[in-house]
């Protein structure tokens, strides 16, 4: 099957889903409370985009959420990736941090959110901390794995060529691990995004996650749909952005 037919089938698949949605609501097979009609969702979408929800437009809600997600994510990148690289190179570092990460990794973010609030307050800092903690393990673990996957011969080549210590990390280990790190970035951004709604559960008055929660409070399923569709689209977009960045930064493919 060639690319064009693949694309066509993919688009058709999404369209069929949309059509089924329209048909269901059009034939009144389900109550609007359960599944709002596409038209109602579109109207809500326009209303939220133009007039806003609770005085904040959809775009602003999104911008607030993005700020939180990206701040938490970027903080995690600049800390977890170096730690992961060190863990991959030095067994002692790995022995120290691996059990700690493994212990907190399976924890649901909501489980420790109350603690974060008590420790850090309700401002954005606790929200960002929650997102940071969500992004950290996948980044650290995948950076570590990427470093461990580097063929030992490549490292030895570099050592025979006279680089060692930090120079080795910078010139050989880091670039070699980059493709794996990018895989980690994609997993981590997905995971961070998945934690977004949890982070906006307390003391938020904006953010796309809060919008969905608040819409849920008033059983505004049309708004929930608007929020979900917006999140699906932006989540996909973030993923594609990282892929794009990867294509720019890692133009080579491993042999």
């Amino acid at each position: 099957m060639d690319r064009a037919r693949y694309r066509a089938l993919s688009v058709a698949s999404v369209l069929v889903l949309g059509f089924a949605w329209w048909l269901f609501t059009h034939l009144n097979l389900v109550e609007p409370l359960f599944v709002p009609s596409p038209r109602a969702v579109l109207e809500s979408f326009i209303a939220v985009t133009v007039r806003g929800y609770r005085g904040v437009t959809l775009f602003e809600h999104l911008a607030h959420s993005m700020m939180r997600v990206l701040t938490g994510f970027l903080l995690a990148v600049v800390t977890a990736v170096p730690l992961g690289i060190l863990m991959g190179r030095h067994r002692a570092v790995r022995a120290i941090f691996d059990p700690l990460i493994e212990l907190y990794r399976p924890l649901p973010p909501l489980a420790y959110y109350t603690l974060l609030i008590v420790w850090m307050g309700i401002e954005d800092s606790s929200k960002i901390a929650l997102l940071y903690l969500a992004a950290f393990p996948p980044l650290a673990i995948s950076s570590m794995a990427a470093v461990q996957r580097i063929p030992e011969h490549r490292i030895e080549c570099a050592r025979c060529l006279g680089v060692r210590g930090f120079g080795l990390l910078r010139t050989v280990v880091f670039p070699s691990a980059l493709p794996g790190i990018f895989t980690g970035l994609r997993v981590a951004i997905g995971f961070t995004y998945t934690t977004l709604v949890s982070s906006e559960i307390v003391a938020a008055v904006n953010g796309i996650g809060w919008l969905v929660l608040d819409a849920g409070r008033f059983l505004r399923t049309d708004l929930i749909f608007v929020g979900i569709i917006t999140m699906a689209a932006t989540g996909l977009l973030l993923d594609r952005l990282i892929r794009l960045l990867e294509a720019l930064v890692v133009p080579w493919s491993e042999e």
């Binding site: 609030i117 850090m120 307050g121 309700i122 606790s126 307390v202 003391a203 849920g216 409070r217 008033f218």
Partner: protein, 320 residues
């Protein structure tokens, strides 16, 4: 800034935690009274429950706020660094236990074997269990489910639950969807089981900025006065705040019981400095109840409860 009061942050703004309850706080918020009179910028943060507020006060990120009486007792029991300075309202007909209109549930006793929902930790949860106790029903004889109001409405509409103890606006929605009130918080309050929305202030803030607290209370007094003398203006403000129809806002507002400063300082409620009023008994009672429920380890004793009440600020507000 941490709690415990050690290091108190520089006062650049007052953070007020509010909830979507149609009382004087929303009137003051909508009309901008605090912004006008407190002398510092005001930052508003909405909370969905008193428990979230407790965590935020503990973290030192909220200065003034309100929560249900149950969560205030939790704050006392867990040592949240705060004091009670005001009673925003007594809960009356705005919280009620709803059953289906056609159902054969006539009394609380008929709830045996049914599924009943309440948001755990909230005042309605307390009242549900109180009502069961008064009717001699063992809570183990029915299914009590923990459910936030919106999910309760969904479950109600789907017919998953037989009853729910909830507040406005979910209450109205459930009544509209074929519901009727079995018992309301007002009725339980009349039997001596008072619940209310309690205004608290963070200890560190109280110590450093008593004048702001006093001014804050004066604004609350002004709001109660407006609710009593110009209810439509007050309801209009609430309506604007909650995106409600003014008539509906008036209805919801009227289902609450408001106390003016003098009433609050009476023996029945806050009492006076060094002479705590009846609210302490309510808190003690609630505390025993929560401890029985296993939610807090130990019920706070009388000394602790009384130390938590701080009517002196309201006294100063009245004198000025």
């Amino acid at each position: 800034a941490t709690a415990g009061g050690g290091r108190e942050r520089e006062l650049t703004r007052v953070v007020i935690g509010y909830q979507a309850i149609p009382n004087g706080e929303l009137v003051a918020k909508q009309l901008g009274w605090h912004e006008e009179t407190l002398g510092v910028p005001v930052h508003w943060v909405q909370f969905n429950s008193g428990s979230e507020l407790n965590a935020a006060v503990t973290a030192g990120s909220v200065d003034l706020g309100l929560g249900g009486s149950s969560t205030t007792v939790v704050a006392i029991a867990q040592g949240v660094p705060a004091r009670v300075i005001w009673i925003h309202n007594i809960i009356g007909e705005n919280e009620a236990l709803v059953v289906r209109r056609g159902s054969d549930i006539r009394t609380v006793g008929d709830l045996r074997g049914r599924t009943v929902a309440a948001p755990f930790g909230a005042t309605t949860h307390y009242h549900l269990l109180t009502a069961l106790e008064l009717a001699g029903v063992n809570p183990g004889d029915l299914r009590v489910l923990d459910m936030p109001p919106p999910e309760m409405l969904a479950a109600w509409l789907r017919g998953d639950i037989d009853a729910g103890f909830v507040w406005e606006p979910t209450l109205a929605a459930m009544l509209e969807a074929d519901g009727r009130v079995l018992i309301s918080s007002g009725e339980l309050a009349a039997q001596g089981f008072l619940t209310g929305d309690i205004g608290i202030a963070r200890t560190g803030f109280l110590e450093r900025h008593p004048d702001i607290v006093v001014q804050y209370l004066r604004n609350q007094m002004r709001a109660v006065a407006m609710i009593r003398t110009e209810p439509d203006r007050a309801a209009a403000a609430i309506a604007a705040e909650l995106s409600l129809d003014p008539v509906e806002a008036r209805r919801q507002m009227d289902s609450l019981v408001f106390l003016d400063a003098i009433e609050q300082l009476s023996d029945a409620y806050l009492g006076r400095e060094r002479a705590p009023g009846g609210l302490a008994d309510v808190f003690l009672e609630t505390g025993h109840f929560l401890a029985e429920q296993d939610t807090i380890q130990r019920a706070p004793d009388r000394a602790r409860v009384e130390a938590f009440l701080a009517p002196e600020f309201l006294q100063r507000a009245v004198q000025q």
